[in-house]
């Protein structure tokens, strides 16, 4: 399916804003945790997603 470049950019803009808000919200909601613990959890999720993205790319 071909999408207009403007539509894709707008969708990615919304995703960028949502991700920024999510990161800010998580940090604000977990002030009782050390930054290493929170970033550690997100890092594991990132590791899984990077592996999945790479397994689909080749």
């Amino acid at each position: 399916m071909i999408q207009a470049p403007g539509l894709t950019a707008a969708r990615h803009g919304v995703l960028l804003g949502a991700a920024l808000l999510l990161g800010l919200g998580l940090a604000a909601a977990t002030t009782g945790l050390s930054w290493q613990s929170g970033a550690g959890g997100l890092g594991l999720a990132l590791a899984a997603l990077v592996g999945l993205a790479q397994t689909c790319s080749a």
């Binding site: 995703l15 960028l16 920024l20 800010l24 930054w35 990132l46 999945l52 993205a53």
Partner: protein, 172 residues
Amino acid sequence: MVVAGAAIGVAFAAAGAGGASLWPDAAVPLAAALGGVALVYALHELDFVRLPVPGRDWQVPVEWVSGGFYRSAVIFGGTVGFGVFTRVPYASFPILLAWLFVSGNVAYGLAAGLVYGVARAISIYSSARCGQPEEVISVGQRFMSWAPALHTVTGFALTTFAAYLLTALALS
């Protein structure tokens, strides 16, 4: 491939632990710098800017994997699973390795490397269940059709990670 993923995770985390023993106060400034770099590369992953991604276009030579099945599987999986010797399609991967270095926690590096390696090998597990070459091609095409969406999701996750890191450091 899974073992190689674990090995690269341990290698970067162990290097970070070594660096932390030499410069104990470096974790916060390094994490802040990583948060900034991750945010910039999140813009790259979401196609807002175009930046160079560290990596190389080298591929496993055919003659390396022309031996027996198990020997070839070990060589291919071992080489590709490290992730740093062959093409790096996404900027999120070097950022992940940099995070493992900053964490300086070998057990965590092992866990993250295992998670990466298992996820990286999923297409191979799926192909191994196929009986015919046409099925292998079909499975491969199905995985490749998911690549653009997963790339976007990875960009989303990288943005979240960067925003969390920068905010949590500012609040700590």
